[in-house]
Point group: C2
């Protein structure tokens, strides 16, 4: 493209951007929040319990029951691929459980560990990128060093992972969102899961933080299946390697769901040695609400299909608009995930921050550029996370159309600045 053509392109994009700003939009694609209509589908929860007694006759209003309601754990055992006896049901947030797992490992000796992580000279976690900013924030809060590992269409680049974990005993963990990964929608291949389970690690207390946040969050009729990480770890002689996390936050109510922790018997015992000092038991009535509302694993599946019917049109709209506006321009690529909550938009190198800034100036709030990387630092400045679930369909359409305009403008300005 000649400089004149570039200038003409930029000028057209500028006009479009000025028109966009003039609209005075106020749209928010920042966080993976369920929409009010999604939450409406779970309103049966509110009146689901009129007598708070468990299946085995326990008065759920009182203290106790640290491991969570067995009948609730039974509903999620298949989806999370954790035997009921190794699956605990807790409070309203799996993020809390991930945070606490790190805290407990810092302050208590993990099975297989030589010492508390707080007594190690340094702790390093591997962070497949793009990844989830709240994972990275926990590491940063507790001074855990993060090393980025590139994602592939099959999950983290296992050649890199295997080399890093074999070389350094201070590498103690890896963050994984194995199904419909946040934010690029990747589903880990069976071979990736097997290699994670089988690999030799220099640290005897290496842990996979398996955040299976989107285990049942399918958007197509072909639900993705991933390999059973706990079984594979045990099979390869690393039974205590994986911590499995999940929650119903994006199934029932985002703020009032139930979170799950699953692991090996030794890890569960270690976990309870901490939580039994901390807790008088989870809110068992809220757990019973989930049992009454979801019924069983089939009920869970049907509820997720109903939710997908609300979410799918928004994901389709994003893909359709980006294709119409940016397809064939070479200015961007984007994912079309089969589940989960996010779409990753890749823009030309050095443009992501400016796209987010100009979108903001036009009233379209996006997740900060860099958020998908440790320390908020995307070295290529390319990756933008789009979260289309919360706004209604018309708002998603307006926001993505605006984002495409911004991408055209920023890319043209960038191209001109380097000619």
């Amino acid at each position: 493209m000649s400089v004149d053509e570039l200038i003409a392109q930029r000028d057209r994009a500028r006009q479009d951007y000025e028109a966009l700003v003039a609209k005075g939009l106020k749209l928010d694609l920042t966080r993976g929040k369920p929409s009010p209509r999604q939450l409406d589908l779970a309103d049966g929860m509110l009146a689901a319990v009129d007598r708070a007694v468990s299946a085995d006759g326990v008065d759920l209003r009182n203290y106790g029951g640290l491991e969570g309601l067995p009948e609730l754990r039974a509903i999620f055992t298949e989806a999370l691929q954790v035997p009921v006896g190794q699956l605990l049901a807790a409070g309203n947030s799996s993020l809390e459980l991930m945070h606490d797992a790190i805290v407990f490992a810092l302050l208590g000796v993990l099975p297989g560990a030589e010492r508390r992580w707080a007594d190690e000279p340094e702790i390093t976690f591997l962070c497949p990128v793009p990844g989830y900013d709240r994972h990275f924030a926990i590491c940063e809060r507790y001074g855990i060093k993060m090393v980025a590992v590139p994602m592939t269409p099959d999950g983290p680049d296992m050649d890199v992972v295997e080399q890093l974990v074999a070389a350094d005993p201070q590498v103690k963990g890896i963050w994984c969102v194995p199904k419909y990964s946040n934010p690029d929608g990747t589903v880990y291949s069976d071979d990736t899961v097997r290699r994670l389970a089988a690999m030799e690690t220099a640290a005897p207390d290496f842990r996979i933080f398996w955040d299976n946040a989107y285990a049942v969050h399918h958007l197509t009729d072909q639900p993705a299946e991933i390999a059973d990480v706990l079984a594979l770890c045990a099979e390869h002689g690393h039974a205590d390697r994986a911590f499995v996390f999940g929650s119903s936050s994006k199934i029932t109510y985002a703020g009032c769901g139930v979170a799950f922790f699953g692991s090996s018997p030794a890890n569960i015992e270690w976990w309870v040695s901490h939580t039994s000092k901390r807790s008088i038991g989870p809110d068992k009535i809220n757990q019973l609400r989930h049992v009454r509302f979801l019924g069983d694993a089939d009920g869970l599946r049907q509820h997720m299909r109903n939710l997908a019917d609300l979410i799918r049109p928004k994901f389709d709209a994003v893909d359709k608009i980006l294709t119409a506006e940016l397809g064939g321009t070479g200015l961007a690529t984007w994912t079309a995930p089969a589940g989960g909550y996010f779409i990753t938009l890749e823009v030309p190198e050095g443009c992501a921050r400016e796209v987010v800034a100009k979108a903001k100036a036009a009233g379209i709030a996006l997740t900060p550029a860099g958020a998908s990387h440790p320390y908020g630092d995307d070295p290529a400045d390319r990756t933008i996370r789009l979260a289309p679930t919360y706004p209604d369909l018309a708002e998603v359409e307006a926001a993505i159309t605006g984002v495409a305009t911004v991408v055209r403008l920023v890319a043209a300005e960038k191209a001109l600045s380097t000619t």
Copy 2:
């Protein structure tokens, strides 16, 4: 008393004890649990929310609202003596908040601290005895050294406390249950609270863990009032000294209540620097249930009066039976608290463990002897905690009558063994 008289007394007690064992009782006075009838009084909670929207129009089903519902904090601000803006409402357990306060202090630098507690050579907490075993269990789990401080009728012996905190910069905290203390029912005098707030501590990051668990749990028509610890700390130039904890576990539902954390603005900011990495917000719908059910501070007071009507007869029965069975014998003393959940029974030195063991053999479960002391070690082996709220009145009467029999037997055997 002559040896013959002692033998006769022991033989009578033995007969009574054998008759007790023959009854095959199965009674439990171990934990401070609300009775089913108490919980029934809160059953209005279950259907209290049919539309989950806050006073200011926020959809409470979704993520967010880390500080908790303002309208709930407003109900508890007076009872907990914490300004609404410095009072956070969280999940279902204040024990969790106390645990997390210690964890956050171990892993993050407290306002006024020179370093993280995890980086200190040693951390010591003062433990007024008798005290609460779950406080001690948290310290023990994290290797925090505990030093017992005797209780007086006005609270901890402040001469001892002042000396210990002034002498050693590793003394970083003290556990306090300032109103109707667990287990002896003591109400801290204004002078005790003032001295706690005013005293000079060698540690710049000393904290009072102010577990105001029984703030509104009165059993008489003269509610105990304690001094305002946050205000006194600020007044004496130690604004960041106190962490205030409270909960509705013994107000509404024990397992599904709401817990509170209150402190200085600097401490709240520090707290949120941790919790904002951990949490996506508390269960706000359960908080709204509390708002709808309790209404306001007057509603809370009325509800507590209704609960007291169920609890008071049990405390009265304990006092009446112990007076009838042991009064004037010199074999025991016991508290007659004006609120809270516990009665402390003091038996002759060296007898508490044996009383608990023999009670157990007769089907009466008591809190383990020593539980009210750090490391489960009551050096005098004298203190037994009685928790009369959970069993029904007839069971309490049967259990306490049995306990009195056991005390007579163990004391007689002890007296004989030392003649």
